[in-house]
Subunit: 304 residues, 2 copies
């Protein structure tokens, strides 16, 4: 059994500042000082937005998220903010992701605590989304964010859009925030041995949820012009329920239908170990395999 | 980069006592008190032999191995020992295995240190084997152990069998010991949808090194009488050079030749995570994949 001492939660907040390096760094410092591990900072100037990735114990992650709200709200004013990416707040979205020794329910509880405390501290409207959503209508980030900061005052006046915490009016400079819990997301591309974009697009349409495909797949066909090939670009939003090997085999089979082979695939960024070990277990037809049989896992369990 | 603080070495000593529970437990206590994690204790009464599995830092593993020599040599007398399993010493064989953040070369150095110090402390002849062997003739444990304790005095008199450390005569009660370094061993079975033992035996012969097959495969065909099926039972002694997916695919192809399908496979005991993630990367055709992309690995690196 994993003990609470080993619990690891990941948090990937999106902050509406991608240009002023002093603000970006001050937010990073606020996160670091809370005892979490800051894994990545990705500012984007044209989006005018920065994605932070950090991880740690429940307590440290909570402290870091609240410290980030304080820092970002003191420095960012949405009234003068512009950028390509849709946003409704200074701290736009804060998802918590279970990594090790914690359940999704733990992350939902954490999301509610952070939403409640950040809202109370700053007089900020906060919505809960994805697994933390109070109703199905609030699961999707896109629905909550529709209308953006500029349309927020009107949106909050609608009875359907009373925030989960805080006032039914925007924070003047910080707008509103969206806090929630979700599974780790896997960004996964499959390159095809062809330059036919129509084939990549047909395969993407065949496998993605929105057009009848697999439940936790988002996909689109794109051209890699420099390599004269095409790619099926995939986001896998729940690798436990829609496993990566099933997506790969389905793409391979669909490609075959057009006389096209899979050239290679690639993971963008990070992938949870379980997504790979479950693929190995499936291909190797490993019956009765348990994660307890992974040597490193066993070592960590015994250590705790 | 992994830092030395995260280094983990595994050690799986085989001790020539599988019946007296007080001795088995005293040896376990000696290991535990050295600050390693004792993962498993497997006594076998008919073999009259116990296999301990422990892991920890370089220093802790060294201390535990030396403590085990002290405890076992004080309690075991080979002159009155009998059992089914071949053995030449009270502490019969001590392999060190690199797990995380250490190289094989580190384990070879550790094996030499332990061999030298145990030999000096107890006046014990010690042979180095596998990756730690000084000459190819001493790589195989079976060759060193041939003749067993009873033939040891005569063997040590041969110029070819001068021990790597210690006197050219057996320790009266403890015989000699074999210390070395090796890769983690994977015990892996593939069950076939047939009751034809000849098929399992032919496939085992086709894939194993000794009869022309893959370099790091030992295999035999066995009958699972209660399930009315047969099994190819495999030991994989270096999963980096002979990966598990290649073995599986070769068995599947050979079985096909006889009109037989693979029913399932199974891992016995523990498997290093890298053996599974490399299988996933191969089947999913993941190009340019690096272990740094495994989320949990990244977390641990950042923590150190």
């Amino acid at each position: 059994m994993l003990t609470p001492a080993m619990a690891v939660i990941e948090c990937i907040p999106n902050v509406s500042e991608g240009r002023r390096t002093d603000v970006i760094e001050a937010c990073a410092a606020a996160i670091r000082q809370s005892g979490v591990r800051l894994l990545d900072v990705k500012p984007d100037a044209s989006h005018n937005r920065t994605v932070y990735t950090f991880a740690g114990s429940r307590e440290a992650v909570k402290a870091a998220a609240l410290a980030l709200f304080r820092e970002a709200l003191s420095a960012i004013d949405l009234r003068t903010h512009s950028g390509e990416h849709p946003r409704i707040g200074a701290v736009d979205v804060v998802p918590f992701v279970p990594i090790e020794g914690v359940t999704m329910a733990d992350c939902v509880t954490l999301a509610r605590e952070v939403a409640s405390e950040a809202s109370a501290a700053h007089g900020l409207p906060v919505f809960l989304y994805e697994e933390a959503a109070a109703t199905p209508a609030r699961r999707n980030l896109e629905d909550i964010r529709r209308g953006e900061y500029e349309g927020l005052a009107a949106k909050l006046e609608q009875p359907d859009w009373t925030p989960d915490f805080g006032p039914s009016a925007p924070h003047p400079s910080a707008g509103a925030s969206v806090v929630g819990a979700r599974m780790p997301l896997i960004a996964y591309n499959i390159n095809l041995a062809t330059d036919r974009l129509d084939v990549a697009r047909k395969i993407a349409a065949a496998i993605r949820h929105s057009s009848g495909g697999l439940r936790f797949v988002k996909a689109m066909g794109v051209e890699l012009a420099d390599r004269k090939i095409v790619q099926v670009s995939i986001n896998l939003t729940n690798f436990e329920k829609t496993p990566i090997f099933r997506v790969f085999e389905l793409v391979k089979r669909e490609a075959e239908r057009y006389g096209v082979a899979v050239l290679e695939s690639e993971i963008i960024g990070l992938i949870p170990a379980a997504a790979l070990t479950s693929a190995a277990a499936w291909y190797l037809q490993l019956d009765g395999f348990s994660d307890d049989q992974i040597l490193e896992q066993k070592l960590r369990e015994t250590a705790s």
